[in-house]
Amino acid sequence: MKIILKIERFNPETDTESRFQEYTVEVAPTDRLLDALIIIKQFQDGTLGFRKSCAHGVCGSDAMRINGKDRLACKTLVQEVADADGAVVEIKPLGHLPVQRDLIVDQTEFFSKYRSIQPFLINDDPVPEKERRQSPEERMKFDDATNCILCASCYSACPIFDKNKNFLGPAALSQGYRFIADSRDKGFENRLPDLDSPDGVWACQNHFKCTEACPRGIKITKRINQTKKMIQDHRKGKGESINDGATD
């Protein structure tokens, strides 16, 4: 079938504003949308900019906004977004991150927020001779959060950034949960100042947009709420109050 890709383009060297350009491509309904982009790049217009690598939804390179939804081009089949010959598919770069060129966005801020929650196992006990033991049940507590490929779909989909640019965001928070819920980790207190703050978990208002967008099926909103609960229990145990920025 023939479909029309209407792609938002921007070249910082020549453009002051973004513009749309249309391309017609011959594809099969079961092709990936990434395949359609590659056909354009390889055979029609070498100037089109987008990132790609694994082509099967595991590396997080090609998140973009396809017909208004933040998703991976390689995990989107043509038939999911174009129902008939001549259908128009609109493709834009992710939101909330500065566009560097065409569909390529600057992820510096996204990654620096990820780094800020100390996304590594914290445990200063002497290194054991073999493995640290962990039951399958303990392991499953944080299983889905380990799926994150840092694609930033959730970061684009979350409406909180429209009001609060400093929000750590869904990915960083769910990675925070990935560690504090790991029975081997002892870094809850280290991460507390970042998680328990008006820009941390408390900024989340349960819109569930991140959970809907996540291509790896992470229950992000639920993990954020579990983190809130852990913080509340911890503070209560110590007779302290949470730092959600509320003034009363």
């Binding site: 060297e13 690598s53 595991v58 992820q107 590594f120 392991r139």
Partner: protein, 578 residues
């Protein structure tokens, strides 16, 4: 722009990151990667990492080493395999201690499962040796190592593509890289350079490899006259999704999945009576192609794109969801089927480069059979050839190779840089790279690379694939030479500086053409069948004449071939039956 580091690591997959953890502890280190580190293809590895932990049943490093040697059809250097198998145990515990969330046994240990070619007691039957984290073991390794790099404040240059190396006859002095965001050329002067650029499956049409897997490291070095080892040995993994090449891990068979032909028969009974579906990959891939050629593929039309079924419908309820969740999802997303109910249509897919940059046990690049090294030049991971995989790699041994030899290289570099001064770099170090870029962007009209890439991939797939013969390979050599000539005329369509992916892909195309030529020429010259190199016209292994490693040197459109001995100091080569 100019930079100076004691160690520059090119590539941030498992091999690059593991080395970086070692070197950054004692030397000023920079990690350059053309994709964001977490997007490296190590993240796509699914099934597991092998180590004789013995958590599920008795196992020993010696058995592991033997399986590695036999699986590699005796082209493996045996002391290297022994070291890898021995280091494996501590390497896996170390990953766990650093936070890797392995799947667990009921008593809380690292769980292990079966994988092709891994046996107990020197071939007595399958053994549970593959440590795993569901079917995203590579993802977890990549994430864990990246996280440790964050913890240890390693310096990254994200989205920097290395295009040249600064090298004189005896010493490596740095690299030249393009910064993707600005298009600027950077010169990195360095006391040591480690290449960890991964595989180059993209020279073939159907592959499990990422777009980034274009073999930049080996190609850059080959153009400087460094020989590449055993390039004729490229692994085709038996189970790629038909038409797409997306990998369906061997762990599906490790958990009990069965390959069936159009009569519903478990055809591996005919080819490997003991290990059946868990025979090494080269054998299973050949078995599939033989079934298809005999009209027993699912369509039965004997065409090269016919396929067989991977049947997991009989597995206990919940096994796929719990142990192979990503595979289950790939099937749903790309095939619209539920593997619990419908067998998966599969066909071999170009998967892994056994060959690459020749190194010793410490990652130092060795350029001949006499052990001559280039000072300061190192390689590790899939782009390197130690050689622990010989003519055919066993599943789960690559992730292991990354951590074992990535670590060893990192430790060696840490020591090496202490004793030397920063190199003097010629003022025009970047001139050659600049000339290349200028030529591609000079505004003249020329063919675009897109069609040439496609031609190369088709030529390699059809003529240097699973079964090979003289005429096909000779044709491939000619066709690739021709494409290399035509490359002289290609030009970009994009003249901008920021994120000129058009230019970057044309540079990658050159790398792939160089490696395709070396692969085809090395294959053509080896007149025997061994592991992943299987010829209709020379169907048997020939130890008398060919038990030796190839060293291929690029010289214009010519490939010069030399050979060096294999270390067979532990086990005498025997016929390979399973």
């Amino acid at each position: 722009m100019k930079h100076e580091f004691e160690c520059v690591i090119v590539g941030s997959g498992g091999a690059g990151l593991y080395s970086a953890l070692e070197t950054s502890a004692c030397a000023k280190t920079a990690v350059l990667s053309k994709v964001y580190p977490v997007r490296s293809h190590t993240g796509a590895a699914q099934g597991g990492i092998s180590a004789a932990l013995g958590n599920r049943e008795e196992d020993k490093p010696e058995w592991h080493a033997f399986d590695t040697v036999k699986g590699g059809d005796y082209l493996v250097d045996q002391q290297a395999a022994m070291i890898m198998a021995q280091d494996a145990v501590q390497a896996v515990y170390d990953l766990e201690n650093r936070g890797l969330p392995f799947s667990r046994t009921t008593d809380g240990k690292i769980d292990q499962r079966r994988f092709g070619g891994h046996t107990k007691a020197f071939g007595k039957g399958p053994v549970r040796r593959a440590c795993y984290a569901a079917d995203r073991t590579g993802h977890m390794i990549l994430q864990t190592l990246y996280q440790q790099c964050i913890k240890n404040k390693v310096t990254f240059f994200d989205e920097f593509q290395v295009v040249d190396v600064i090298l004189d006859e005896k010493t490596c002095k740095g690299v030249i890289a393009i910064e993707l965001a600005t298009g600027q050329l950077h010169t990195f002067a360095a006391k040591s350079v480690l290449f960890a650029t991964g595989g180059f499956g993209r020279i073939f049409k159907i592959t499990s490899n990422a777009f980034a897997n274009t073999g930049d490291g080996p190609a850059v070095l080959a153009r400087k006259g460094i020989p590449l080892q055993d390039m004729e040995f490229f692994q085709f993994h038996p189970t790629g999704i038909k038409g797409l090449g997306i990998l369906i891990t061997e762990a599906v068979r490790g958990e009990g999945g069965i390959l069936r032909n159009n009569a519903g028969d478990r055809f591996m009974e005919q080819y490997a009576p003991t290990l059946l579906d868990l025979a090494p990959r080269d054998m299973v891939s050949r078995a599939i192609m033989t079934e298809i050629a005999a009209g027993r593929g699912m369509r039965g039309d004997k065409k090269i794109d016919d396929y067989v079924n991977l049947d997991a419908t009989h597995l206990a309820k919940g096994v796929l969801e719990a142990k192979l969740p990503d595979i289950t999802e790939f099937c749903k997303t790309y095939l619209g089927i539920d593997p619990n109910e419908t067998p998966i249509p599969v066909l071999p897919t170009a998967h892994y480069a056994m060959g690459g940059i020749p190194t010793d046990l410490d990652g130092r690049v060795v350029i001949d059979g006499k052990g001559t090294i280039i000072e300061g030049l190192y390689a590790a991971g899939e782009c390197a050839c130690v050689s622990v995989h010989g003519a055919n790699r066993l599943g789960t041994n690559s992730l292991l190779d990354l951590v074992v030899f990535g670590r060893r290289a990192g430790i060696h570099i840490g020591e090496y840089v202490k004793h030397i001064d920063f190199p003097a770099i010629p003022a025009d170090a970047a001139a050659e790279a600049q000339r290349w870029i200028d030529r591609l962007t000079d505004g003249k009209t020329g063919p675009h690379g897109g069609h040439m890439a496609e031609e190369m991939q088709t030529v390699m797939m059809e003529n240097v694939g699973i079964y090979r013969n003289e005429a096909d390979m000779a044709l491939a050599v000619e066709a690739i030479r021709n494409l290399r000539d035509r490359y002289g005329d290609v030009r970009v369509q994009d003249f901008s500086k920021p994120f000129n992916t058009d230019l970057l892909e044309l540079i990658e195309l050159k790398n792939m053409l160089d490696l395709a030529l070396i692969t085809a020429a090395s294959s053509l010259n080896r007149q025997e069948s061994r592991g992943g190199h299987s010829r209709h016209d020379f169907p048997d292994r020939d130890d008398a004449n060919w038990l030796k490693h190839t060293l291929a040197t690029l010289d214009g459109n010519q490939v010069n071939l030399a050979y060096k001995p294999v270390d067979t100091s532990i086990w005498k080569p025997k016929p390979r039956a399973y």
